[in-house]
Symmetry: none
Subunit: 371 residues, 2 copies
C-alpha cells in the first residue's frame, strides 16, 4: 500500500473528504502534482485515473481535473449506465418517420446508445403509456414527435415529470407550446406560403387547400397559405379550405374533392396538400375523374417523401430533411445528455432549437395556367 501512486491517491482523497476540493472545483494540475510529490507524470495519472474510475474526479481535456459532486452521482447512479435513448413518434411505419428514425438510430448506435421505440398512433392515451414507461425505466434522454400538437395535451404533467427527473427531451416536427422545449422543426408557415405562392405565380387563383389541423404543422401551413393569397391580392373562397383530423385523413379530403370535381362548375385549377400522402391519394381521385395532372389541375405536396418520386407524375413538393433531421435530433439530445451527466451545465444552456428552412422542389405536377 505504500506505492507512490497510492500515496498521491490518498492525499487527493483526503483533500476531497476534508473539503479542500469542493464539488466542481478544479484540483491541482498533473504537472503541479508531479512537483508536489516529486513523481513522474505517469504516476500522477495512475493515481488520478483510479479516482476517476471510482467516481471521485472527472477530467476535462484542456481544462483540468475536477471534483465530482457526490450528491448528483447518487441521483444518476441509481441505475446501471445503460445508455438508452427513447424515441416517441406518432407512426413508426408510415411515410417519412422511418427515415427520421433511421437517421437517429444510426447516429445514436454509433455513439454507443440504444434506441427504444414507442409509437402513439397519434393518440394521447398511447403517448401517456409510453411516457409512463420512460419514467419508470431508465432512460438518458427522449426524442419526441408530439401527438396532436395543436390540441391541448393532457400529458403535460408527464413531461414536467421528465424535467423533474432530469431526463432531457427534445421535440421534432412540432412541439407543445406550453412546454417551450428544445425542438427541431420545419418552417411550416413558410412552407405553406411557398407552396401557394408557387401556384399563384403560375397563374392559379382557384386553389383548394387541404390541412390536417390537429397537428400544429397543419395550422401553420394554412397560415402560410392564407398569407400568400393575401400578399398577391388573391381572394380566398372559404369553401376552398378543407381542414381534417388524423382520423378523417383517408376519407374527408377524398370525398370533398370527388364532390367538388363532380359539380362541374367552379372547378379548382390547383391543390395545396398538407403532405405527399394526401397528394397521392388525391391524384387517384383526379385520375378517376379523367382529369390530367398537371394539364387540368396542378397539385403541390409537402415533405418530399419517397411517394413524390414513385408515381408517374413526379410531385412538386416541399423538401424535408428526414434522416438528416433524425440525425440532428440524435446529436442534440446526446449533447444535452452528456452535459447533464458530465455535470457540465454549459452545453445545456447553449443548446438552441433549430428551425429548418422550407424549400420548394419543382417537379412535374404543377404547370403555368393560360386562361
Amino acid at each position: 500500500m505504500e506505492t507512490k501512486y497510492n500515496i498521491v491517491k490518498q492525499a487527493i482523497m483526503s483533500k476531497i473528504l476534508d473539503g479542500t476540493f469542493q464539488p466542481h472545483q478544479k484540483i491541482y494540475s498533473e504537472s503541479e502534482l508531479m512537483k508536489q510529490f516529486d513523481v513522474s507524470r505517469h504516476t500522477v495519472r495512475v493515481a488520478i485515473g483510479e479516482l476517476v474510475t471510482q467516481g471521485w474526479l472527472y477530467r476535462e481535456q484542456g481544462a483540468g481535473t475536477f471534483c465530482v459532486d457526490r450528491s448528483e452521482v447518487e441521483t444518476s447512479m441509481n441505475a446501471s449506465n445503460q445508455k438508452n435513448i427513447a424515441i416517441i413518434t406518432t407512426y413508426i411505419s408510415d411515410y417519412i418517420f422511418p427515415s427520421i428514425i433511421r437517421g437517429a438510430e444510426s447516429y445514436l448506435s454509433q455513439h454507443g446508445y440504444h434506441v427504444s421505440l414507442f409509437s402513439t398512433n397519434n393518440n394521447h392515451e398511447n403517448e401517456r403509456k409510453a411516457l409512463n414507461k420512460i419514467l419508470t425505466q431508465r432512460f438518458d434522454g427522449v426524442i419526441i414527435e408530439p401527438t396532436k400538437s395543436a390540441l391541448f395535451n393532457p400529458n403535460i404533467n408527464y413531461y414536467l415529470n421528465l424535467e423533474r427527473k432530469n431526463i432531457p427531451y427534445i421535440m421534432i416536427n412540432a412541439f407543445y407550446d406550453e412546454l417551450d422545449p428544445l425542438s427541431i422543426t420545419m418552417n411550416d408557415e413558410k412552407g405553406g406560403y411557398i407552396q401557394t405562392k408557387h401556384l399563384i405565380e403560375l397563374g392559379h387563383t382557384n386553389i383548394i387547400g387541404f390541412f390536417k389541423t390537429d397537428d400544429i404543422q397543419g395550422n401553420k401551413r394554412m397560415k402560410g397559405f392564407l398569407q400568400a393569397h393575401r400578399e398577391h391580392g388573391v381572394f380566398v373562397d372559404p369553401s376552398n379550405i378543407v381542414i381534417y383530423s388524423s382520423e378523417e385523413k383517408a376519407t374527408k379530403p377524398v370525398e370533398f374533392l370527388q364532390e367538388k370535381l363532380s359539380v362541374g362548375e367552379d372547378v379548382p385549377t390547383a391543390i395545396v396538400c398538407y403532405n405527399d400522402e394526401l397528394a397521392i391519394r388525391l391524384l387517384d381521385v383526379i385520375r378517376e375523374k379523367n382529369l390530367q395532372v398537371p394539364e387540368d389541375i396542378s397539385i403541390v405536396g409537402f415533405d418530399d417523401s419517397f411517394m413524390a418520386n414513385a408515381t408517374e407524375v413526379k410531385l412538386t413538393t416541399i423538401q424535408h430533411p428526414k434522416s438528416k433531421m433524425g440525425e440532428s435530433a440524435a446529436k442534440m439530445i446526446l449533447d444535452i445528455v452528456k452535459a447533464v451527466t458530465g455535470s457540465n451545465k454549459k452545453a445545456r444552456d447553449t443548446a438552441e432549437s433549430i428551425v429548418i428552412d422550407s424549400e420548394l422542389i419543382i417537379r412535374d405536377s404543377t404547370k403555368q395556367i393560360n386562361k
Copy 2:
C-alpha cells in the same frame, strides 16, 4: 474511438463475447498482445485496465489476466426485469421493414415490453456490433432479420453465445441454415413459382428474372422461377436470369434491362422481379424506352408493398403479411421468453417455425399475350 488501445480493447471484448475466452480462462499475456497488435506494453495495459475496471477481466500478478464469469454477475442482475426485446433488421426505413417493426412494436408494447432497434444495413460488421450490444446489455429476447442470409455468416459465434446465455431469438424473412433457429418466413420458393406460373399461363415464354442472391429469399425465388418453367415445358434462356447483390441493386438490374430493351430483338415480354422496389425501378426504365406496361411488357413484383399501389400501373405482386409478420414474431418471442423465465420448458419445445403461404395478387401490370 479509433485509438490503438480501443482497438485492442474491442478485439479482446469480441473474443470474450464470441466465446473464445471462456470464464476463468487465461487470456493472451501482455507481451503476446504487444506482438499481435504491434503496440507498446503501455497501450496493452490501458486496454486491459479498462476492461478490468468494467468488470470483464481480472488480473493476477505472476499468473496472467483472466476472463470474469459474467453469468455469476448477471444472475443477480437478472432481478431487474427490464422487459427488453431487441429487433435487428437490415434496413429500418426502407420498404416493408417499417411495417414489420410497427407490428412487432405494437404487440410488444401492449405486453409491457420495450423495443430496442438495431439496423445492419445488410452489413455483417454492423450485425456484429448489434449482437455485441445485445450480449453486453440485458435483453430478454431478440427478433432478427438475418443479414445476407445466403452467405456464410461470420457472427455464428455470437448467436451461439446468445443460446449459452439463455437469450432466445427468432428469425424472420430468412434464417441462417447452420443455426436451425425458430423462424417466420415466406414460402419464397412457391412465391417465385407462382409469379412465373402466372406469366407463363398468360402466354409469356420470354421472361427475365431478377434475383438478389445474397439473401436466401432470392435463391429460393429463383428456384421457383426455374421450376415453373420446367413444369410448363418452357425453356429458360440462361441470359434471362440476372442475379445481383444488395450493393448492386440500384445499378445492375437497371443497366441490364436498358441494354436488353435497346437491342431491339429478342425483347422479353415479361419480367419477374425479386421485389416491388426493383419492379418500380424497372417500370421507370420501361417508360423511358416508350414501352407500355402491361401492353408491351408484363411485370410481377414481390411483397405487395405500399409501392405496388402508389404507381399509376398497380402492380401484380406476391402478398406479404408485413405488420402481421411483425406481430407474429413478437408473439412467438414472448411465448418463448415467458417459457424460459417461467422455467416452463414445454412452450419452448412446442414452439414451431412458421412458413407463410405465398399468394398472388393480380393487378394491372400483367396481361395475356396474343401472338
